[in-house]
């Protein structure tokens, strides 16, 4: 056979692919110009990108960073880039970025909000990233007390006494439920905690302050502003709304008619009205609803209303999580003979909440974005501050720079969070299959 000369003996070496289907050209043919319609679309898209960038980039870079007023900015830009140049006056950001971030918080105490938000992140880490040791969760329990204390300051005994309320409630629950069943135990726990907070706690704080004065400078919430205000409102609202939302969701699923009616009514009412009307309530009505003489400051009122708002949405998120659980889980819990609360605590909620985390994160993004609405009722969040800055004679007329900066900051926050929630979604999907 070997003398058949027309049969090739060794394989031909592989030929290089045609230059039109590899490398940059090949990639472009495949991804941009696969058909004439696609080609046209690509050209239009390219033109669009070009026109947007050519409008924005010169403005961004023909800028002034050093001026002290808008007039000075205009002068500097026209001397540097010619009289027709339109450039950004980033100097206003240089002068005011600390104010836009921290509001009126005393500058020597900036470490406190930074530490507080760092602590909050640290506390959230074991919840958000399942790879971390579970033990860290116990540390997270301290954060809800430490973070507000760091932000608002005051006596160290205030967060301790608030935490004591929970401890008391827990003790009451254990004692009473062993004597008289879990329902009475629950009632006793709530009663003990409420009685402690309403009557004894402030006296106890006074006594402890007398014995060991331990505290940091108190900062009134009027000094909160800028992004710090947005983050505070968002963080507090989401943290507090989660337990309320879980209760509301359970109430909505419950087969007790009156409880369900109350929960459905509350959820649908809050979700049916725009946040801005709730903020109107916070700014003009909430003081009417409370006993004469009570006076929360406006930021606290806003936090309360935003929390109520977030709770209704959170309830729906949790309900979604509950609905996504296969029925078998409920039936299995029943089959094990667990009572309602045990089944919720040990079987249903851990799974339902885990499924809901991506949606919870996007709810948080939504609430965080919605905090800009407080500028409409006169709070100095970043948008409100931008107006106040423009009321300064030196910066009267600065528009795009401030909005641009604020939009950029919001984008960075929200984009990173939404990336995180997508990562989580992918991960959960693989875990389920």
């Amino acid at each position: 056979m070997s003398d058949l000369s027309y049969v090739r003996k060794e394989m031909l070496s592989q030929q290089a692919a045609p230059s039109t289907s590899v490398g940059v050209i090949g990639w472009m043919r495949e991804n941009l110009f696969s058909s004439w319609l696609n080609g046209l679309l690509s050209l239009v898209a390219l033109y669009l990108v070009y026109s947007v960038l050519s409008a924005i980039l010169p403005w961004v870079f023909h800028s002034s960073w050093t001026a002290n007023s808008l007039q000075e900015c205009r002068q500097q830009i026209s001397t540097a880039y010619g009289p027709d140049a339109h450039g950004a006056c980033w100097a206003v950001i240089r002068e005011r970025y600390l104010q836009l971030i921290f509001g009126f918080y005393p500058s020597e105490l900036y470490w406190r909000p930074i530490l507080a938000f760092g602590l909050a992140l640290l506390a959230l880490a074991p919840v958000l990233f399942t790879g971390l040791p579970r033990k860290m969760l116990q540390g997270s329990l301290a954060a809800p007390f430490l973070v507000p204390w760091l932000l608002w300051g005051g006596s160290f005994w205030i967060p301790v006494s608030a935490a004591l309320g929970f401890v008391l409630g827990y003790v009451a629950f254990r004692v009473v439920s062993s004597l008289a069943g879990s329902l009475l135990g629950l009632i006793a726990a709530v009663a003990a905690a409420v009685i402690w907070w309403l009557t004894l706690a402030s006296a106890w704080v006074g006594v402890m302050d007398g014995v060991i004065p331990l505290g940091i400078e108190a900062i009134s919430s009027r000094n909160f502003g800028g992004f710090m205000l947005s983050i505070t409102i968002g963080l507090v609202a989401i943290t507090v709304s989660l337990p309320i939302g879980v209760m509301l969701a359970l109430g909505r699923q419950s087969n007790l008619i009156i409880v369900r009616a109350i929960c459905v009514g509350f959820i649908e009412f809050i979700r049916g009205v725009p946040l801005i009307t709730l903020l109107f309530v916070a700014s003009v009505l909430l003081n009417y609803f409370l006993p004469p003489g009570t006076d929360f400051d406006i930021i606290l009122r806003v936090i309360i209303m935003v929390t109520i708002f977030a709770s209704a949405y959170m309830a729906e998120v949790v309900r979604g999580g509950l609905a996504a659980l296969p029925k078998g889980q409920y039936e299995a819990a029943d089959a094990l003979g667990l009572d309602y609360w045990k089944a919720q605590r040990l079987i249903i909620m851990p799974q339902a909440l885990k499924i809901s985390i991506p949606v919870i994160v996007s709810t948080f993004i939504g609430v965080f974005k919605d905090t800009t609405l407080v500028s409409i009722i006169g709070l100095l969040d970043p948008l409100g501050l931008s107006n106040a800055i423009r009321a300064n004679a030196a910066w009267n007329g600065v528009v795009w720079e401030l909005y641009g900066f604020i939009a950029f900051m919001f984008f960075v926050f929200c984009f990173s969070m939404s990336r995180y929630s997508m990562y989580l979604e992918r991960k959960l999907r693989t875990e389920h299959r």
């Binding site: 009126f104 006494s161 608030a162 907070w197 402030s202 003489g293 400051d297 406006i298 300064n392």
Partner: protein, 339 residues
């Protein structure tokens, strides 16, 4: 009357307890701070600087009150309010005094239950147009697009003016001065109308102020002044007479520079002596220390000094005294005697 509601660690730290009805003076003293409602930002009248300190003409009045009551012009919390929230904030006791270029009207005084303690700026609603339009009177504005600042008496005055003169117009309500300015400069409205002081302040910040004119018509009376809650006359007296002291100080030639000297060495003008507490007991009658007026004047200067510093002719805003000159100079600033 203190009522403390404990709502967990979150709220307790910033809970502010106060009483809406009873003695505001006692509350302010107990708190050690005066809560003053201001504008969220209006050139010349109230704006925060880079350090978060508030400055401006309205702010100056508040600082004087804080100095008179607490002896310290910085013992003060500023609460920025919008046109919508300002009255509720005052009515609910969130603020002790509202100094936010608020017009003194019958319904606000009587129906909304507030007490206006005086007038710190006599204003009126005017119109500003670009010179290029060639308009010389507001009556030539038929069919024009008019930018108004919403949430004020301005839109009512405007509706009345155009209705009375039977000309049509297109109102564009705008929330803040800054946005109104932006629209006006871009030509999205032909006319900008607000208080004449605001027009002057806005015009002053334009790249070319000479290209714009303020029309001669002033279509309303806008006496702007600080106000307090109805029903606490003692507190109203304190704010009223602090404002009066600032105005009288200018008339009597007391400035922040010479007030210490005048207080240390009683002059032979008994009114000055009574006001500065070196004679009589006016301070005691108000429930304040004898040197209350000294402190108030030292806080930012007398009325004239405040005017010159924040909105006067040497500032970018460049307002002339006009109606706001002392009565001795042909203006309306005329305060009752200190005796």
């Amino acid at each position: 009357m203190k009522k403390s509601v404990f709502l967990g660690a979150l709220t307790v730290a910033s809970l502010v307890a106060g009483a809406a009805a009873a003695a505001t003076l006692d509350d302010v003293k107990a708190r050690g701070k005066l809560n003053c409602g201001t504008n969220t930002g209006l050139v010349g009248f109230a704006a925060p600087d880079a350090n978060g300190e508030w400055f401006g003409f309205d702010v100056g009045v508040c600082r004087a009150v804080a100095a008179a009551v607490l002896g310290d012009p910085s013992a003060i919390e500023f609460v920025p309010t919008t046109g919508k929230t300002r009255f509720t904030a005052l009515a609910s006791g969130e603020i002790d005094v509202l100094a936010r270029n608020t017009t003194w009207t019958f319904s606000r005084d009587v129906d909304l239950k507030f007490t206006f303690v005086g007038v710190n700026y006599y204003d009126g609603q005017g119109f500003m147009v670009p010179k290029a339009l060639g308009v010389t009177s507001a009556k030539e504005l038929d069919g024009a697009t008019v930018c108004i600042q919403a949430g004020t008496t301005t839109e009512l005055n405007l509706a009345d003016f155009f209705r009375v003169n039977n000309i049509s117009y297109e109102p564009v309500p705008i929330e803040t001065n800054a946005e109104a300015q932006q629209q006006y400069l871009a030509g999205a409205c032909d006319v900008y109308t607000t208080d004449a002081s605001g027009l002057a302040a806005t015009r002053a910040t334009f790249e070319d102020p000479t290209a714009h004119v303020v029309l001669p018509e002033i279509i309303s009376k806008e006496p702007l002044g600080p106000l307090v809650r109805h029903g606490d006359d003692d507190w109203a007296d304190i704010v009223r007479w602090t404002l009066n002291a600032l105005i009288a100080a200018e008339e009597l030639g007391i400035t922040s520079a010479n007030v210490d000297e005048l207080a240390a060495n009683p002059t032979n003008n008994p009114e000055i002596n009574r006001m500065l507490g070196t004679e009589g007991n006016l301070g005691e009658m108000l429930g304040l220390p004898a040197d209350w007026a000294v402190k108030a004047i030292k806080a930012g200067g007398n009325y004239g000094e405040l005017f010159e510093k924040y909105i006067g002719e040497n500032t970018p805003i460049g307002l002339a005294r006009g109606l706001n000159a002392q009565w001795t100079d042909g203006g309306l600033m005329y305060v009752p005697p200190f005796r």
